[in-house]
């Protein structure tokens, strides 16, 4: 400031400053309530490829006979245990191979220690250690039924119904039972790392915001370039948003209930619908442009605590639907979200060498760089892969059910600070 100002001029400057500050304050206070001038959205087209086609390098099996997040189709659980005509004459050696066969839906070792099976190499601990099951005095019929469909004894079982869902036939279940009966001595692990009860939970210590550590971060530069590229309408993001830094908390409040669409709107779906309505560009969900822009919008809000609205009537109903979906059994393996990610079930345990995280901590780093695939996944692709991996059909990325689930998950992650793009295995 110029200290030689005349008093009257000084006063005028002060008054002017106050006006400017009031104007800024009113803009700031308006910012959260942008409903006065709603962001333009293209409302009538699909936000993802339609009809949805599974990613080219993913398994192509048809799981239409099993539940998805959008429909119920799985066969019912049997009402009573199967009666066997006599003792099982299975092939224990064949059974030992089957329990480690990862092509059948993850194998028994994913969840159980089983003595020498799979070379005692990184078994999981979601289910009990079966290394001494042969001493338990269990009858063939009981063992057969537990493998065939454990729900006949425990309706709440996490175990896949291997027989009912067609993963193993009767002969194969007999072979597995024959192998189980040979297990009579405590598990001997090859190293402490192999013992799932001693294996330390993985800690992600890499600096995800270092561009020499996390190639996902390069998407920020790509998005900054895209920001200035004019679409078919002749305008670009920069036409209306000259300074992207105003989005320094926006993504932390997403997803949100959008009455105009009657669904939950995520950052990625917003990017498609808003861009379509303004610049005219077609940045479908899962396109490289869409993912880059989502990374950038989240990146701009890094450090902000996740804070989504679940109080408005539409949002509350969506939250409740999303919460209910986390308990739905899906696919041929018949897993719900909670089966794997709730600590009272499989959460915070090992499936073979992979750690199952709980729901909290599964949202604040998305979109995230996947080192195993050398690519960025948004949360919707993560949802899709969970389903395909447990042998369920996925939904298109813009499915309403994913919106409900994402709002619920974001709410569970409330308070965690965004750190995007994350880096994960």
């Amino acid at each position: 400031m110029n200290r030689k100002l005349e008093p009257s001029l000084g006063m005028a400057v002060v008054v002017a400053c106050v006006f400017v500050m009031l104007a800024i304050l009113s803009m700031v206070s308006d910012a959260p309530a942008q409903s006065k001038r709603e962001a333009p959205l293209a409302l009538h087209e699909a936000a993802a490829e339609l009809p949805w086609k599974r990613y080219r390098d993913w398994p192509t099996r048809d799981m239409s006979k099993f539940n998805t997040l959008a429909k119920l189709a799985s066969p019912p659980a049997p009402k009573a245990p199967r009666k066997l005509a006599g003792p099982i004459a299975g092939d224990a050696a064949a059974g030992q191979k089957l329990v480690a066969d990862r092509s059948r839906g993850g194998s028994c070792l994913a969840c159980h220690s089983m003595g020498p099976a799979g070379n005692a190499d990184l078994p999981g601990n979601v289910g009990p250690d079966l290394s001494e099951i042969g001493n338990a005095g269990r009858e063939d019929e009981w063992l057969f039924n537990v493998v065939n469909d454990a729900r006949v004894y425990n309706p709440d079982s996490v175990m896949p119904p291997w027989g009912t869902h067609g993963l193993f036939n009767d002969q194969e279940i007999g072979d597995v039972v024959a192998f189980l009966k040979t297990l009579k001595s405590p598990a001997k692990y090859r190293s402490p790392l192999d013992d799932p009860n001693k294996r330390a939970a993985p800690v992600e210590a890499r600096d995800n915001l270092d561009d020499l550590v996390n190639p996902g971060l390069w998407a920020v530069e790509r998005a900054q370039a895209l920001w200035k590229v004019s679409g078919p309408s002749g305008s670009s993001c920069a036409t209306c948003h000259a300074d992207a830094r105003v989005f320094n908390s926006w993504a932390a409040r997403m997803p949100r209930w959008e009455p105009r669409l009657d669904k939950v709107l995520s950052v990625e779906e917003f990017v498609f619908r808003h861009t379509k309505a303004t610049t005219g560009a077609t940045w479908l969900m899962q396109s490289t442009e869409n993912i880059a822009m989502s990374v950038y919008l989240h990146f701009l809000a890094n450090g902000q605590p996740i804070s989504v609205d679940v109080t408005s009537p539409g949002a509350k109903a969506a939250f409740e639907r999303g919460k209910a979906l986390t308990a739905r059994k899906l696919g041929q393996l018949n897993f719900s979200c909670l089966d794997c990610h709730d600590p009272t079930r499989g959460g915070l345990k090992w499936i073979r060498g992979q750690w199952l995280g709980e729901q909290k901590g599964q949202y604040d780093h998305f979109p995230t760089w996947r080192t195993s695939l050398q690519t960025i996944w948004d949360i919707r692709k993560r949802f899709q892969w969970c389903q395909v991996n447990i042998r369920a059909d996925e939904l298109p990325p813009d499915a309403k059910e994913y919106g409900d689930l994402e709002l619920y998950l974001a709410s569970v992650n409330s308070g965690l600070k965004l750190s995007v793009p994350g880096i994960r295995h």
């Binding site: 092509s103 790392l193 499936i351 073979r352 060498g353 992979q354």
Partner: protein
Amino acid sequence: MMHRMTRRQALALGAGATAMITVGDAPLAFATPADADAEIAKFTGGKPLTAGKITIDLPEIAENGNTVPLSIVVDSPMTPDNYVSDILVVADGNPRPGVAVFHLTPLSGRAAAATRIRLQTTENIIVVAKTSDGKFLTERKQVKVTIGGCGG
């Protein structure tokens, strides 16, 4: 950290080793799959290896083998008349054992290098360092590469 093998471990690794290692005065046979051995022999010209003086920093367990951070430090001066000139890295369970050879100079300042590597499976990373006076040091470390839960 010095890597010392017990006699039992050395025996368990079995025959087929060609690289001779000395720990103190006692010669030990490191059994590496033949290809890894050949790669090391090509580098050393068949000269003997001395275990130790190399610190390998690798995760004990890798959730995938696609990009495993590897850091190597050799306890050595880096002066014009006494320095580490070359560092060979091999992985004995990969389709091909060679990973990289680093060439250093006194201008490197420290006998150290780091990179990120691909591992096919649970396997040993073997590092051999050549000093400017023609000696060869070696060290190894196993990385357990995780088996996924859900299968394919």
